[in-house]
Amino acid sequence: MIAVEQIRKSYHGARGLDGFSLKVAEGELFGLVGPNGAGKTTLIKILSTLLRPDAGKAQIAGWDVTAHPREIKRTVGYMPDQPGLYQDMRVREFLEFFANAFHLPRERRRIAVDLGLERSGLAARGEDFVEELSFGMKQRLFLARTLLHDPKVLLLDEPATGLDPLARIDLRHQLRELNARGITILISSHILADLEDICTRVALIGEGKNAADAEGNNFIDLRKAALPSLIYEVEVLGDTAQAAQRAGEMPGVKVMEQHPTQIVLEIQGEAAQAAQLLKHLVTGGVDVVKFARRIATLEDRYQRAFGGKPR
């Protein structure tokens, strides 16, 4: 449904994308993750026809985004990272204006607006001004506006930013529901737990290019059972400093985190290496109460792909 091939784009004196490629199948709920400035917003802007790529190809539903912008606009619903709303319009007027802007015929327009109000839970607030709505309601209103013309593909740039936990849960429900209705969704977000919860696959992007996790994957398939990681959580009685020191003495063992009662280790090697480490800790006088291999979360894989350094 979405095919991006070796796309490049420089603007505002910086390289936004530098040969990024992506394929999203029809009906997928696909995540896009990467540090700030990695090129996520640039990619979504290109796919929504706001920017023209310098090189490479981008297609949605078989339409080239540069050659067929009108078809793309009909196919795509785009929600920017900071959705702008006309604060001085009434909620219903706002939806009616955009239904008009998508050239919906009168009867379909009425149905689309009513449906939008219902979907966003704002049916009772249709005559209120947009500025009177809460942040979460505004986000729901913008999502309803994005869906007015029945797009086959949704492009969402950081839609959960600034939402409170309940609004985030609500957004996840809405996206799952839309995806179940057959809408392909490409979503960029820094909230990895949300992506892990709803996405089928996730692409890693860094410095405008495809990035890879520790296993060398550019795309993480979240439908497959997660692979056991090389990360171990060790809970001890008493001082974790001694445990961290003992663990550090073992070749191929790296202390990643040290907490008051727990250390987190990365062990390069097979299970035998972990068994050796456990023996080394116990014989060294460390009172181990828990020694467990962690299932790799998206966050772990992200940390290992991007070095864990904030940007």
């Binding site: 026809t49 706001l50 920017l51 606009k73 009909r74 795509v76 785009y78 920017p80 319009m89 204006f97």
Partner: protein, 262 residues
């Protein structure tokens, strides 16, 4: 109808300035007319038709100056407000093309200024009572003012497409108005001086040229007797049209690239 026009007019009329500006406009126009009328009727030698012509000229020029000051307020902020409120991305990803967006913004800005012009028409027509002025003069003054305002609106919209902030676009639009009204007149005076103060009909086209950009001159030649200055009126109209067309083309080009500014 272009959905942009309805949206723009609705939003404009909801703003406080939607009723404050017409009030200021009509109050200023009324005050100027009252002053001029009082001054003219004090001179007992004035004939009725002379009062009519004097009042008409006063209303026409006052109206032009007030509207030249007000037109940039509406058009210079028309596109920048979309950038400031982050609503431009939403607009550009609808099926509205750059031309429809431009036309919606332009028509709404111009319609609002025309509302002010229409509000002043009864005052302008009241001078019929004194004689000396006919429907032809009123029509020429109105048409000329509309052409000038359309040009200023198109130029201000261009600046609105260039800048991110309304304050910058409005400031540069006012500079454009000043250049067109005052700077062109000063250049003309200097050129006239250098060419030896020849009469209008003997002057070279290059000396007269700056005045064809000048809105006040444009309005003045609209009142002149047909035999003498209508060619100048046509030239002024052509220059205005050219400025407007160039502004529109540049604005459309900027709107096509506006994705980089959102």
């Amino acid at each position: 109808m272009n959905p942009m026009i309805g949206k723009e007019l609705r939003q404009r009329m909801r703003e406080r300035r939607g009723w404050i500006l017409p009030s200021i406009y009509l109050a200023t126009l009324g005050a100027v007319i009252a002053l001029v009328y009082y001054g003219m009727t004090k001179q007992t030698s004035q004939q009725g038709w002379e009062i009519g012509v004097g009042l008409f000229m006063t209303v026409a020029y006052t109206q032009l100056v007030l509207l030249l000051l007000m037109a940039p307020i509406f058009s210079a902020g028309a596109l920048t407000i979309e950038k400031e409120q982050r609503t431009l991305a939403g607009l550009l990803t609808t099926l509205l093309g750059p031309l429809q967006i431009w036309w919606g913004k332009f028509a709404a800005s111009l319609l609002y200024v025309l509302l002010l012009l229409v509000a002043g028409l009864p005052v302008l027509s009241a001078v019929f009572a004194f004689g000396g002025i006919g429907p032809w003069e009123v029509a020429m003054a109105t048409i000329t003012t509309v052409v000038i305002l359309a040009t200023i609106s198109a130029i201000s919209l261009y600046w609105s497409s260039v800048f991110r902030r309304s304050v910058h676009a409005t400031a540069v639009s006012y500079v454009s108005v000043i250049v067109m009204t005052a700077v062109t007149f000063i250049i003309f005076l200097l050129a006239q001086e250098m060419s030896g103060n020849q009469s209008w009909n003997q002057m070279a086209a290059a000396v007269k040229a700056p005045l064809f950009f000048n809105p006040v001159f444009f309005l003045t030649v609209g009142f002149a007797p047909a035999a003498q200055l209508y060619p100048e009126w046509v030239q002024c109209a052509a220059v205005s049209l050219l400025l407007a067309v160039v502004s529109v083309l540049l604005t459309l080009r900027n709107l096509r690239r506006a994705g980089e500014m959102v």
